[in-house]
């Protein structure tokens, strides 16, 4: 856990995100029909999901560690990762909706990708409700860890597998090629990959901050 107290990756995250703000808005992008300049949203929409995925993965890691050791701080780390992940989930949905308004014509057009993302959102809200329904701390930690591990593969299937099997307007589904195939030229990669890395680090940073606040609160509430 020494990693979360180090500074270098936080500086790196800020630099990367700042650099994509500049490169993402200034560098030329390919002229594509319908998309036009909205393609720049790629640098902000996809990294949100990347950030969400990284904190959710970390949260599953800590849930597994909790089940193995039973240490309370692992449970706190897992829940704070999910909280941060949900914030990034919301941002991903919002940026996606904004893009959909310009590319597909509606904020919410009932596209399979949008619908299954909404269902996956409910899945993680259920995790928080489950936590609130149990008063006993250790029982709460254990059951929510189990549900978290259970929810993660279901979320992956919902967001990344099922929409690919049906007809969706979203790139990468239903025979539509993903952006990486041929739209993402080398000029865009300069802005896109740093954005993915930078936002993931930002997500992890937020999660670690929340986790450290929780640790302090926990220490204060302890009876010695």
């Amino acid at each position: 856990m020494k990693f979360i107290y180090q500074t270098w990756w936080k500086v790196l995250a800020v630099l990367l995100v700042l650099s994509t703000l500049i490169t993402g808005l200034i560098l030329p992008v390919p002229r594509l029909p319908i998309l036009h300049e909205t393609i720049r949203n790629l640098y902000f929409h996809v990294p949100m999901w990347m950030g969400m995925l990284s904190v959710f993965t970390i949260s599953v890691y800590f849930s597994i560690k909790y089940l193995k050791t039973g240490k309370e701080e692992y449970d706190l780390a897992a829940v704070e990762c999910v909280n941060t992940g949900l914030a990034f989930f919301t941002l991903g949905l919002l940026t996606g909706m904004l893009w959909a308004k310009y590319a597909w014509g509606e904020f919410w057009s009932g596209d399979p990708k949008q619908n299954s993302a909404a269902i996956a959102f409910l899945l993680y809200c259920a995790y928080l409700v489950l936590r609130n329904s149990i008063d006993e701390e250790q029982k709460r930690a254990k059951i929510s860890a189990i549900y978290n591990i259970f929810a993660f593969p279901v979320m992956i299937v919902l967001i990344f597998v099922l929409p690919r099997l049906t007809d969706s307007l979203h790139p990468g589904s239903g025979g539509n090629p993903a952006f990486g195939r041929y739209d993402l030229d080398n000029g865009m990669k300069v802005a896109f990959y740093p954005a993915m890395l930078g936002w993931s680090f930002i997500a992890i940073w937020i999660a670690t901050l929340r986790y450290r606040i929780r640790l302090i609160e926990n220490k204060r509430n302890n009876i010695n």
């Binding site: 269902i119 409910l122 409700v129 059951i143 259970f150 279901v154 099997l165």
Partner: protein, 227 residues
């Protein structure tokens, strides 16, 4: 195979217990029949509905919603009816995997029987021509299998968290929505008598969801039962 023997014994015990009281089976069957009957009465209020365009779609969707709520009711009981001391006894004589496996297999059996009966009752009240009856039947079996695997695991979690029905619904519905969407699409294909090869992808996705749910249930249940 120790696990297999334990699973088989526990499964036999579930069946015998149910056979003696027939509580879950009769209760859910009555639930299904009365729901179908309510739907039937409500639809006869609108004359000419059977000839309208949307009838087939409504027919299919309504069937799956009835099955969904019937299975929530049937399977939520699977961990509820066990008293704490009896569960403790099982855990001292059998492995946790055997317990969850036997419950799942028993629920698959119960749900398959119930949904076949429900389909017969439903067909009696709502006449409809099914293009590919055998395939529709298979989809119903596959559906009861998927509902059983998902709901058994969720009911185990919900039973540990204070046994309330709201929690069961909240926890299970996000998982069951994709399953039921695939099932409705599959059964619509069967009803329209489309070529079976057009549904293989969906069947694969459904099987994949089942495998994932079963695998996580087997891995996680040993942690769940210990108090």
């Amino acid at each position: 195979m120790k696990l297999f023997d334990q699973t088989w014994e526990l499964f036999k015990k579930e069946v015998v217990l149910e056979w003696r009281s027939k509580y879950a089976f009769n209760g859910v069957l009555l639930y299904v029949v009365s729901t179908v009957f309510i739907c039937y009465i409500s639809f006869t209020l609108t004359p000419g509905f059977e000839k309208s365009d949307g009838y087939k779609v409504v027919w299919n969707v309504l069937f799956w919603i009835i099955i969904l709520f019937a299975s929530v009711n049937a399977i939520a009981k699977s961990f509820l009816q066990e008293s704490k001391s009896r569960l403790l006894y099982y855990y001292s004589i059998a492995s946790p995997q055997a317990i969850i496996l036997s419950k799942t297999i028993y629920n698959i059996l119960l749900m398959s029987l119930l949904s076949i009966l429900a389909l017969i009752v439903y067909l009696l009240f709502f006449t409809n021509t099914i293009g590919d009856p055998l395939f529709y039947f298979l989809v119903v079996i596959l559906g009861s299998l998927s509902f059983s695997t998902v709901f058994t695991m969720i009911s185990a979690i919900a039973s540990k968290a204070g046994n309330n029905g709201t929690l069961m619904a909240i926890l299970s519905f996000p998982v069951i929505i994709p399953v039921i969407l695939i099932l409705i699409r599959l059964s619509k294909h069967a009803m329209d008598g489309l070529d079976r090869s057009s549904s293989y992808g969906d069947i694969g996705a459904l099987c994949a969801i089942n495998v994932i749910v079963m695998a996580t249930a087997l891995l996680l249940f040993p942690f769940l039962w210990r108090d």
